[in-house]
């Protein structure tokens, strides 16, 4: 079995897959004649970034709300990069990377949030 340079059809790739139950891992491919998605993605990423910047510089909201808003913008930006540029839903057979990714985002969030919570020493005889 040499490294074939030929392109496989998806159905052939599917033939090797045997976990039909995991429908949500089914890959999605997306082809275009012109890289419109990429360009829109780029513009979107710039907008998200500068929006966050101007919100902070002009201090439009109280601190906590502001932090929440810019973090939301950052999350949106991350999702955009993953979806547009990283083709996160693509794969051969099944897009297995999705499961570790969902998990790791959960764990990362828990890690940062809980660490802050733990290290606040929010207690005492109060």
């Amino acid at each position: 079995m040499a490294h074939s340079e030929t392109e496989l059809t998806i159905s052939e790739a599917y033939e090797r897959d045997n976990d039909r139950a995991l429908k949500f891992l089914k890959p999605r491919f997306h082809e275009e004649k012109f890289p419109m998605t990429q360009i829109l993605g780029y513009i979107g990423s710039l907008i998200l970034t500068f929006a966050a910047y101007f919100l902070v510089i002009n201090r439009v909201l109280p601190s906590i709300a502001l932090l929440a808003v810019i973090l939301t913008l950052a999350v949106m930006q991350g999702a955009l990069q993953l979806g547009v540029f990283m083709h996160v839903r693509e794969g051969r057979g099944l897009a297995w990377q999705l499961i570790p990714l969902y998990l790791v985002f959960l764990i990362a969030l828990g890690m940062v949030g809980m660490s802050v919570w733990i290290m606040l020493f929010k207690s005492g005889v109060s």
Binding site: F121, S123, G124, V125, S126
Partner: protein
């Protein structure tokens, strides 16, 4: 290999363990954790016993099933027990062993929550004796801000009164542990953590550090003498009057990496304990003050600061 062969070591082991426990101690008083002399240790003990009983239930249940299965389903010629190689599930049973542990754990969990919160508060209406504890390599410095005295590796406390330890370290981390009074708490540099304990019976107890902190660590045992409040006041004022003061120079002597015996000091320099540290808020019953410092950090003024 037979059932008896498997079970015997257990039986003899259990016997050996019990025998060892009885023979070795003479007086079980040496099981310090099981003989608390104050409310903190008592509450902790009650929880332990509760948990131990729940766990005993688990262990008995599992062992019964286990020994029965091992005894009955041996692969020996002529075993009449049913052989069902394809039996691979049973809805009811499987649900059962999700549910039973949940019930048992709830039984432990509820008092766990209650006691955890309860121990985080000083009992109402009782003025505690405050002791500022600094762990050093490898010794304990105890400062009594209310009595203006200090000791090394020796504690004297009044009975029937909560004692509030304010813990910090000028060394690697340690924990302050006086098993008969109750559980331990870490001492950490740059932090002040609270711990309250109480002795209800006068007597001689011992304390120790639970957290390894270097080669002299095993020398951090200290004696704890609980006496009546009156006797305590007498001891404090006598010490204040007669013992040599702890000077800054002698404090720096203490910072050396070394071990030492007990010592008493008639007074001590104020700056040897962080009067303000970020971290804990101990403002129950208005006895403790918190302030918000720069950068939103919490400044904590221990009671000693307000008393002066």
């Amino acid at each position: 290999m037979s059932f008896k062969g498997l079970r015997k070591p257990y039986r003899s082991l259990a016997l050996a363990a019990v025998a060892a426990g009885v023979v070795s101690t003479g007086c079980g008083q040496q099981y310090v954790v099981l003989h608390p002399v104050g409310p903190v240790g008592e509450q902790e003990l009650h929880l332990m016993i509760l948990a131990a009983i729940a766990m005993a239930v688990v262990i008995v249940a599992v062992f019964t099933l286990y020994f029965y299965a091992v005894a009955r389903f041996r692969d020996k010629p002529g075993n009449a027990a049913p052989y069902r190689p394809e039996w691979h599930g049973h809805k009811l049973l499987e649900t059962l062993w999700w549910i039973i542990p949940v019930v048992l754990l709830t039984v432990i969990a509820i008092p766990t929550v209650q006691v955890t919160y309860a121990l985080d508060r000083l009992p109402k209406g009782k003025n505690p004796v405050v002791i500022d504890v600094t762990s050093l390599t490898w010794k304990w410095l105890f400062e009594y801000p209310g009595q203006h005295i200090a000791t090394v590796n020796y504690l004297e406390i009044p009975t029937g009164k909560p004692v509030l330890f304010e813990l910090t370290a000028n060394s690697p981390m340690n924990t302050l542990w006086i098993p008969q009074l109750g559980g331990m708490e870490y001492t950490m540099p740059n932090r002040v953590l609270p711990l309250w304990l109480q002795a209800d019976k006068p007597g001689m107890y011992w304390g120790d550090s639970g957290q390894y902190s270097g080669t002299g660590f095993e020398k951090m045992f200290f004696k704890v003498k609980a006496v009546s409040p009156k006797a305590f006041a007498v001891w404090a004022s006598k010490t204040h009057a007669t013992a040599t003061p702890l000077t800054l120079a002698s404090y720096h002597q203490l910072l050396k990496h070394d071990t030492m015996g007990q010592a008493l000091y008639g007074s001590y320099p104020k700056d040897t304990f962080p009067s303000i540290a970020s971290g804990f808020t101990l403002n129950g019953q208005g006895m403790y003050m918190t302030m918000h410092g720069p950068h939103g950090s919490i400044k904590y003024l221990p009671m000693s600061a307000t008393q002066k």
